[in-house]
Amino acid sequence: MKTKFTTDTKLESEIAYFENINLKLESGDIIDSFKLAYKTYGKLNTDKTNAILVCHALTGDQYVAGNNPITGREGWWSRMVGPNKPIDTNKFFVICSNVLGGCAGSTGPKELQNGSDVAYGGNFPSVTIKDMVKAQSLLIESLNIEKLFSVIGGSMGAMQALQWAIDFPDKILNIIHIAGALKHSAQNIAFHEVGRQAIMSDPIWKNGKYFENNEVPERGLSVARMIAHITYLSENAMHRKFGRKLQSRDIISFGFDADFQVESYLRYQGKSFVERFDANSYLYLTRAMDYFDHDETFRKNIEFSHNPNNHLKYLIVSFTSDWLFPTIESKMIVNQLNSLSREVSFLEIDTDKGHDSFLLEEPQLDDVIKGFLTNNFAKIDE
């Protein structure tokens, strides 16, 4: 496999090109060539034992830490990844790539179709979590890393980490799986469907061809983001943050303005999302999450894996107020691993911040991740 590497100065990102590779997707479709945009932090040691892959969530990107040139803000996990942070880049070489189907430089609906000057749009093939992980594994291989020390992710990132454990256990030593599940639940699919319907019923969407007129289905995409954002919080967190407080006014307007702070906040979330995310990508990636289902197969896949996986360590973390990926879902993974006597650790962190807790200030999450990585790294370093 010959991979071409370039640096995109505008995206401040490395790009890996996989040409004529004929990547076979789970759907049966084949992408003959694709690219992945990725960032790295820290230094790979001489033995190449300190590499960690961080997998981003639905609307994340490769900008884990440092500056994100698309938003002009700090990377999405800069509180977790960096020098002396829990995932310490003084010690570890951290890689994060934009997923296949994403919109921050990797091949996805927004990018030009191979050998043409038209974007994929709705012609992009359906991608799954398994496909994303397959693409990532090719990137890791191209970077000449035989074994990742760890694969870490929250939410859709957790799905990818779990998929790594299933598909490439021989290429990793442990996974940290935060706020995830064996499957995307009916309720979660339902929320995604409402989001997708909001996008697809925006007249500007035009079957995914909005880019032809340089337009964006802003209304649909922002509504999708608003709905999703509610599911990332919890009732308590919302109450604590907003209560029934009014926005820039002393009395209610008896109209449909954003009277309440919570309304104004959601509108802002929707609006700022539109500026950084592609509507088609949102359709494809939510679908990829919906299709994720290891409910029946996980135990068998682990027990009868083609590749040796006995050495794998699992850290599974959930949050008490996460109703999108509740603790019970994490415990199912833990139960199945325990029934196979695998080396699994599990912690439910007590917080009211909901699903988004993994991105926020949670000292216990920091401690557990830092300790798990440091102590397990010390064991292989002996």
């Binding site: 699994v344 912690l347 300790g371 102590n375």
Partner: protein
């Protein structure tokens, strides 16, 4: 003995009951102290369960395989005979269903190690006899209304239960309140009176399959069905 010393003593006795290179499940593992000791001194592979969130987080952060969970609900997920030893240190008296837990220990592990404070100790008997109030001692330091210890039992009670459940006591160590150690099985009289804390190594009775002696081979192939 103060609480910490008493736990250390408990751990070092547990260690003496465990062979090298075995797979161990520590129920109520705290921040992994015993697991660490057994990994270092016995080259054990350890797993733990801990109910307390902060202790579980500490243990995980220290690099141990620990599941934050409730032993009374979560033991069922482990497969039969998946550990060499299952350890329940100083916790049986705090369980809702001690008998069920005991049978779970020996389902999951080939052997179980159980330690508990003896409610039959003379100081406890004397306190109840003289004051007429529920005893409060160093090893059972709680008042009756806020104690986590909901099932008090004596060594005699425990031995009876083991007998009823066909559990074999492979080894038993007693400790007096002064920390003096003795073999419970060898000292018959007064054991229940003087044992402050007890540690048991348990396993199930192995039933020999019944063999029918016969000069004729009655149960040869197909003959049973044919007759």
């Amino acid at each position: 003995m103060n609480k910490i010393n008493s736990i250390r003593k408990d751990w070092s006795l547990i260690e003496t009951l465990i062979a090298e290179d075995r797979k161990i499940l520590d129920i109520g593992c705290g921040d992994g102290g015993l697991m660490e000791q057994l990994e270092n001194n016995r080259n054990a592979i350890t797993h733990g369960i801990e109910l307390n969130r902060d202790l579980a987080a500490n243990a995980i952060a220290r690099g141990f395989n620990v599941v934050h969970g409730n032993a009374e609900l979560d033991l069922s997920q482990y497969s039969n005979n998946s550990f060499d030893y299952v350890i329940l240190s100083q916790t049986l008296q705090a369980m809702m269903k001690p008998k069920d837990i005991l049978s779970e220990l020996l389902r999951i592990g080939s052997k179980a190690i159980v330690s508990f404070p003896n409610f039959g100790h003379w100081k406890i008997r004397l306190q109840l006899l003289i004051s007429g109030k529920m005893p409060v001692t160093e090893s059972l330091p709680y008042t009756w209304y806020d104690t986590p210890n909901i099932h008090f039992f004596t060594i005699k009670d425990f031995l009876n239960l083991c007998n009823e459940m066909n559990i074999v006591i492979e080894k038993s160590i007693g400790l007096t309140s002064k920390g003096k150690q003795f073999d419970i099985s060898e000292s018959v009289t007064g054991v229940n009176f003087f044992t402050h804390e007890a540690i048991f190594l348990l396993s199930y009775k192995n039933f020999e399959p019944i063999k029918i002696k016969s000069s004729k081979k009655v149960f040869t192939k197909n003959s049973v069905i044919a007759n």
